[in-house]
Symmetry: C2
Subunit: 425 residues, 2 copies
């Protein structure tokens, strides 16, 4: 990517430098730029202080082809980006007619009067060009200075995304005549961590030398992104991709960025099945993950969160003698929980989970992390015992994900359980 322009980002705002909010705008900008072949060289974050802003704008613009500034475009006294740009490059601030029209139109749509505070947003450095697609009252704008294209963008995440998609990205790519690189292929993997995947890649030079590879950990899934490295022979790249895809095949749950719940819901839709859960140690997490998704109601009957033995017996019909003989965390209890949930909800397929999330409740025989999962239909039930030695919430997230994946594989008639699950047994 060495032919591409040097790009630096300046993120502004007291709330950022104080650590009060986490900088998700940067993550959005950086990943969008990388997909288009542009790597950020430096990100600098400072608070709402005029002197500091002027200094950094000058420093960063001198080193870059593009300086992208985020935040500080609003109507209040703390919003200093336009003024700092003017001072940094020693140019005048003036009311820009296009920016004034933009603010006026915005006020009219909202039924607001045009206030001095609103008009401040139309006062920009001489020569500024605005991006008309800006959805907020503050228009994004750019100027050329120090041989650098300096772009000011709003801090509101939804406004930023809108402008980037509508105008900004193509503007940057046009100006710098970037060749759009090969699109990234993105896979969602389950049951493999970053470091294991990294070692696997490091051990296979054919993959490492020919592909540009990135990860994004989305506990409990891992997003794998890859494309051909610049200058690599297409045949070598093809072989490398095949090798990589074979290496992760068992972990692949979707050929795009997804959550485990999204993939399960899609499969329930494709196979037109009704699903239910009986959850003890996951405490309703599977139901909650699934019902976050629009459209879940058409394929999800319901869940029984049987946190107490009484609910296991009373609602799910688990026999008291089974609970006494085998304990709540046992294969027979998991099976009876599943049978009860299927009967009570009239769903066609379901999963039941009973385990010890910790930190207390373990024993020598059944340590913290032990869990029994039963899944299937009224007439075909499978079970597995796992030991997932993670802290409580991570335990719940991983067990929920594994449970959903076991159901998805069942619906897809794939080998079940997957080979990688042996790691947890």
């Amino acid at each position: 990517m060495s032919n591409y322009p040097g790009i630096r980002l300046l993120m502004t705002g007291d709330e950022l430098i104080h650590g009060d909010i986490i900088d998700t705008n940067y993550s959005y900008l950086a990943t969008t730029l990388i997909e288009n072949g542009l790597v950020v060289q430096e990100k600098c974050t400072v608070g709402d202080n005029l002197g500091t802003l002027v200094h950094q704008i000058r420093r960063l613009s001198e080193a870059s082809d593009i300086l992208l500034i985020n935040g500080g475009l609003g109507p209040t006294q703390d919003d200093l980006t336009a003024e700092a740009m003017a001072q940094a490059f020693d140019i005048e601030l003036e009311q820009i007619p296009e920016a004034r029209c933009h603010v006026e139109a915005w006020c009219e749509r909202r039924g607001f009067a045009l206030s001095p505070a609103s008009l401040k947003q139309a006062t920009l450095p001489h020569g500024a060009k605005i991006f008309p697609s800006s959805p907020g009252s503050a228009a994004a704008f750019c100027i050329r200075a120090n041989d650098c294209l300096v772009i000011a963008t709003p801090g509101v995440p939804s406004e930023l995304k809108h402008i980037v998609k509508e105008e900004l990205l193509s503007h940057i790519l046009d100006i710098f005549d970037c060749n759009k690189p090969e699109p990234l292929t993105k896979f969602t993997l389950l049951g493999i961590g970053e470091s294991s995947l990294q070692s696997l890649i490091d051990q296979t030079p054919a993959i490492k030398d020919n592909l540009e590879i990135g990860f994004r950990a989305g506990l409990p899934t891992l997003e794998l992104k890859y494309r051909t490295k610049t200058g690599v022979d297409p045949d070598h790249s093809k072989d490398a991709k095949q090798l990589l895809e074979q290496a992760v095949a068992d972990h692949l749950i979707d050929d795009r960025p997804s959550t485990v719940a999204q993939v399960l819901l899609k499969t329930l839709q494709e196979t037109n099945q009704q699903f239910c859960t009986a959850e003890s140690c996951t405490g309703g997490m599977i139901a909650s993950e699934l019902t976050r998704l629009p459209g879940a109601s058409a394929h999800f009957q319901g869940a029984i969160v049987s946190y107490s033995n009484n609910v296991k017996h009373q609602v799910l019909g688990v026999e008291e003698s089974t609970l006494e003989t085998h304990g709540a965390v046992s294969e027979p209890v998991a099976k009876q929980m599943l049978a009860g949930a299927l009967q009570q909800t009239q769903a066609e397929i379901g999963v039941a989970v009973t385990g010890i999330a910790g930190p207390d409740g373990g024993s020598a025989d059944k340590p913290v992390g032990t869990v029994w999962i039963a899944w299937g239909t009224e007439h075909a039930v499978k079970t597995v015992r796992l030991c997932v030695k993670f802290p409580r919430v991570q335990f719940q997230q991983l067990v929920s994900a594994i449970s959903m994946e076991l159901v998805r594989r069942e619906l897809k008639q794939q080998e079940n359980p997957p080979a990688w699950l042996a790691r947890w047994s």
Copy 2:
């Protein structure tokens, strides 16, 4: 805070500059420093590139009293912090005996052999002092250069937190002889947003002029932090605090940073009550939030997620005629769901929720966002109808939080529902 040293942070790592992970280490460091009276002047983020690192370490150390570097201490080739520090200040790299002991002890604890990769972590700039509390194989360390204390810390979040708590913070405070400022008072609020609270503060100069105030949005709660501004008369500060506390009293759910589920569980423990839920539109989110917490099992019997009318009738005993006459989103159905959940789980207090999370399913009479909540005991049930016009997941989060808060107020015998809830009715 103008007497305090200039502190700058350098965050390193390709995964950070590529936007693949969100920088939570920074948020932790900045908020910890601010609590102790130290404001970060600048944060700079760069990838794993030796030349860039050397340049930034030199630049930032020249401008600062303290430069805190995060990341790049590991055993791989990408971990360049020690080498970059040596080059930046033109000092030799050498094996530091304390660092070697640290790595050896770490390997011994894990039963690993001492490899060249491990030993790389003991090769540090001449004069480096390590922080012995470092829990990982890589010890944090510091050197003095350019009149600046340059501190290198590990990127693994749990290791970073451990070192900061055990040694680093007190080390910084000791060296710079900072007077520890008044501790921040922290409140958890529900039912008020950042902008409403900001306007409230802006309209009350007595609060604004005398208190240093910060927020941290933790959807659906808001953390409010405040302390006396430097130099303010203690009497003025006392009055200002009283005014602020009165202004937010109705929203206050805890006098420390908490989640709504944590506050509910604490109240269930204090009152020794057993809780249950019957959830339709929240899909198990209340149960899941509560059961993420250790100790939930002693006060949570279970939940019935009645996503279909069949489960409402079959498991919760809602009458079919009630569902037909009033519809699933109605006061009588919410009440019968609660009665059914209390009976089935044998809990003493519970909450039932039925509503339209959207994006589909609304009507003129019951638009998307309509929800009925019923809460209480077998003999004393209260209900409320709300209209929460938020996107699906935010709707679920807010309705879950309100439901838990209504139960907490009931247990505490507080006025119920709170006045602010009128905003949603």
